[in-house]
């Protein structure tokens, strides 16, 4: 088996993991969310936000899988885009994920007046884009919010011993490598991305099934 074949297999595996495994993990998280709602009578905002992050990621994975196996869908392909520099479906979903991540921090720390601020800001950015077509700040927003989110998620996870926050921090760290970091070499970028997909997919499965329990008394 030569390197091209290995590359092909890993790429296909990554696509299937993103398009099938992550939606499955999201489904499990959704069920847990509804179960808790039934038991307590109200939604836990942190769980809703975690579900939101995974749901956005699922949509991303499904569309990528569809586009890979149905190359004729030119309109979807065009709308989907491939980077975070513009407001396409890809950029929108990544932006939604980092926004939910930051909102989760504000909820975890109970900073009441900031709780919806990331949602307001991102919502405003979307409305602004539809009115003016301006989206030059999307990439900067995703990088800054994503980094802030990851740092705070680590701090929150460790400080309040919350498995959910720590799990998301690890997931974001791995996913962020594929989205934001450019190693300056196309082949290296490709390999890092493919390996990252395999790693975070495996991690998501462990996380969603409830086996990620670094802290025994922690939340998740």
């Amino acid at each position: 088996m030569d390197i091209t074949q290995i590359d092909y297999i890993i790429t296909q595996l990554g696509l299937f993991l993103d398009g099938l495994l992550i939606p499955f993990a999201t489904f499990i998280l959704g069920r847990k969310l509804l179960k808790q709602k039934k038991a307590t009578g109200k939604y836990n905002p942190i769980r809703v936000l975690i579900f939101g992050v995974f749901f956005s990621f699922s949509v991303l994975g499904i569309i990528e899988l569809i586009l890979e196996y149905m190359p004729g869908l030119t309109l979807l392909d065009e709308w989907f885009g491939s980077g975070i520099t513009n407001f396409n479906i890809y950029g929108f979903l990544i932006g939604t994920m980092v926004t939910f991540g930051l909102t989760m921090i504000f909820f975890a720390y109970r900073w009441e007046s900031l709780q919806y601020s990331a949602l307001f800001f991102y919502g405003g950015m979307i409305v602004f884009f539809f009115l003016t077509g301006y989206d030059a700040w999307l990439e900067m927003y995703i990088i800054i919010t994503g980094l802030a989110g990851v740092i705070f998620l680590y701090v929150t996870g460790i400080r309040v011993k919350d498995n959910g926050a720590l799990g998301l921090a690890i997931f974001f760290t791995i996913a962020f490598v594929t989205i934001a970091i450019d190693f300056g070499d196309a082949t290296l970028n490709h390999w890092v991305t493919q390996i990252s997909i395999l790693v975070y997919s495996a991690f998501i499965l462990v996380f969603s099934l409830g086996y990620f329990r670094v802290f025994k008394e922690g939340g998740k």
């Binding site: 007046s113 900031l114 919806y116 601020s117 307001f120 405003g124 009115l131 003016t132």
Partner: protein, 218 residues
Amino acid sequence: MVEWTYLVIESVYFILGILSMRNTLRDWKENKNRILIAISAYIAAVLLRSIVDIITYVSDLNLDGVLFGYITIGILIGNILFIIQLEFMFFLKKLNKLYTLPIIISFYIIFGRALVNSSMPFILYAMIVSYGSAYILIRDGKRRHNGLAVGMGLFFLIWGLGQTIGPTTPIIFISFRTVAMVTLFAGTKGFYERYIWPDSKKEEKIMNTWITKLVMKE
């Protein structure tokens, strides 16, 4: 050349504003109610805009010039006023979770104005903020016989009407806002309690209870 008509109307507006602020600060000294400080801060911000206008009418200096893009000082101060106004309303209604919303909306309106030469978003925002605030304050004020709330509500309503009807016709705009300031001044002076609702002492007690209830933290 000095524009005397505008200057006289603007001066009346400014003096009434100063007197209203003096009334609210005097009341604050008596009962130490934080809401009165918030109202004073709002009036001070309104008067800041008035100073810019007075300088414009007296001299040829155009302080309402373009800062960058299509942003003028007027748009900037207008947005600051709406931030204070909305924050004030959220403070009254205890909507702590919405405190960042006015700042974010104003940020986008100002940024949008830098790119596109259109007053529409600002006018729409002004209408929503003014009429929404006016409705809530007049309704609550009438229900609880609170003259200050009604005065502020009428101020927002008439000010908003002026902003909607004559944003490009200064005489309409400044006339409306002077009438608006008269209604606010009447509110701070206890006019409504004294002449519209009888038994002023009883009403004053109700007003104090209303304000206390509004600012009382759980």
